[in-house]
Symmetry: C2
Subunit: 344 residues, 2 copies
């Protein structure tokens, strides 16, 4: 299994990202194709131990920075690392690609080169939220589609269900539709129509869920539009960081607290690991006819390694085939009338 | 200043809520009018010390429970405590009311009895999020209006600005529009049109903000529709609780951690106080032609006391007058064309 890794994008140095790819190649049954500046790659590889047959590279010297606008970047830098990585998949030279990046550019690279999976109207970005007892909630879309119609949300449910049942190993995942309350009268016109469709489909749909339910053990897949999902995901990342900062500043205020913190180091590390998004290997672009992961711009070696791991899991489980089957099961691709008609 | 307190609603006992009202009456320059079952109130008051001229009551034996549907409850229980409390304000017998409640029922009670403030199309629910350095971000709407037009969001900005500058004492509050990214190309059709209007108004508008910015010191007022705001607020409450639970279970796993936790008790208490929403006194229903606070259904005495305190601050600062002035300044009430026209 060959996974192309864009080591030029993101906010960290290529060396850090190469380190993550080398670790993945050493640990997993994959070959990493590093995509980036030849000289940097050759120099960095000298400092790592790795099996030569499991690391290869493709030169690309251009980079899409975090602040570039995807639609402009595509025209100005067609040979940027993220586009080269996507084309390796398109040309059958790689099975998946991972980029720590400008999410819009990565999405555009995947969408334009690999296209949509059959039956999917709108590919989405899938987020995984940690909760208690080493469990997770899948949330999608977290950014690709700010405005969605019911059919898009229904397809997100199918894709989230497939991901939860394969990669996360959850039996008959419980699907919830994010809303501002659990009563049927809540939500928007779009969520109310989506609710009625999901109720009729062969899916474990538990109805509306609220923001707090994302962390409860009541739901496995939270479905929402990309506007809401993106704001929620970023707010949660923000509050995690804010709480850790408050804790740090409180600890430093007294010697007793500092001593207490040393005694609690093991507990703190477990919690830090839980709120540390680099543990979860980024976000799959789901619904793309190919396998592609976008990790945080701030990704370190660990997040890149985990991103590669998630990509290999998606391939091993044949997630895309599973999604296609799910959509057939839902008969969604035929439901063109969703676009025109309200379901009574 | 007379504040009616609905002591029958919510999930806690009336006695707890009466305790909060008594504490507020003892500490603040207000008179509390307890609204609820006569016998319960008389019995409870025997156990507290209070000045007799600062506590009075009005009998109401009916309650709207947390799960009742507001539109049905209004018809079936017109004399429920929350409606009686709202009518006291309508009839000029109280200056404000506080209810720990079914938010929908409280909103309906306020809206139907007190109406909208002149120039306000849609009253909203205002949330206050704690962040580092004892600062706060105002976020609205957090639930009253799942679907909003640009004019509604612009009015939320005006109301949030007035609240932040008076009750929170922030000089020239920075207004941000919540979106799925800071670039102009992000957001929905609605947020993009709102953006253009806010840019033209005499307001300290800093543009789009992301979910994580709610906790940064870059913004004072986060504007969004009630669907998004409600989901974000509840997700944040959920994650705070989840993290505290994880911490508790980690601490109990080792004797050393338990000892460390004792040493850190003071730090933990400060953090708990920070994430404890009962410290912030509930959510004002803003844009109502009157003063009304809805606190959490799970409100304890402390949250009721703080809710009464916030109501008294809103009255002292003449917040509603300030909002009317802001809206005049924005010329919003005349901008009927917002409804019909996209702003170029």
């Amino acid at each position: 299994m060959k996974i192309a890794v864009d080591i030029m994008s993101g906010e960290r140095s290529p060396e850090i990202l190469i380190k993550g790819a080398v670790e993945a190649a050493n640990k997993l049954d994959i070959t990493a194709i590093l995509v980036g500046e030849k000289n940097i790659i050759e120099q960095a590889l000298k400092t790592y131990n790795y099996r030569k047959d499991k690391i290869t590279f493709v030169h690309s010297s251009e980079v899409i920075t975090m602040n570039e606008i995807p639609t402009i970047a595509i025209k100005q830098k067609p040979n940027a690392s993220v586009f080269v990585a996507a084309r390796l998949v398109k040309d059958g030279l790689a099975d998946a690609f991972v980029s720590p990046g400008n999410t819009g550019a990565t999405f555009a690279a995947a969408f334009l080169n690999l296209g949509r999976l059959k039956g999917v109207s709108r590919p989405a970005i899938l987020g995984v939220m940690p909760k208690v007892s080493d469990k997770f909630t899948v949330i999608l879309d977290v950014g690709a589609n700010p405005e969605c119609k019911p059919i898009h949300l229904v397809q997100f449910a199918a894709m989230g269900e497939a991901y939860a049942s394969t990669v996360l190993g959850i039996d008959s995942p419980r699907i919830g539709l994010l809303s501002n309350g659990t009563e049927l009268s809540k939500g928007t016109d779009i969520t109310q129509r989506t609710y009625k469709i999901l109720k009729k489909l062969p899916v474990n749909f538990i109805g509306y869920i609220e923001g707090r339910d994302i962390f409860s053990d009541e739901v496995d897949v939270a479905v929402c539009d990309g506007f809401t999902g993106n704001i929620v995901l970023k707010a949660l990342e923000g509050v995690g960081k804010a709480l850790l900062n408050i804790l740090k500043s409180e600890i430093n205020k007294s010697a007793l607290s500092k001593l207490g913190a040393i005694f609690m180091m093991k507990s703190f590390n477990k919690i830090r690991k839980k709120v540390d998004y680099s543990e979860y290997g980024g976000a799959p672009l789901i619904g793309i006819d190919g396998t592609c992961i976008v990790t945080h711009g701030s990704s370190n070696d660990k997040e890149i390694m985990n991103g590669i791991k998630v990509a290999s899991q998606m391939l091993n489980y044949q997630l895309n085939k599973m999604i296609s089957n799910k959509l057939k099961e839902y008969h969604i691709s035929k439901m063109h009338w969703f676009h025109r008609e309200k379901i009574s």
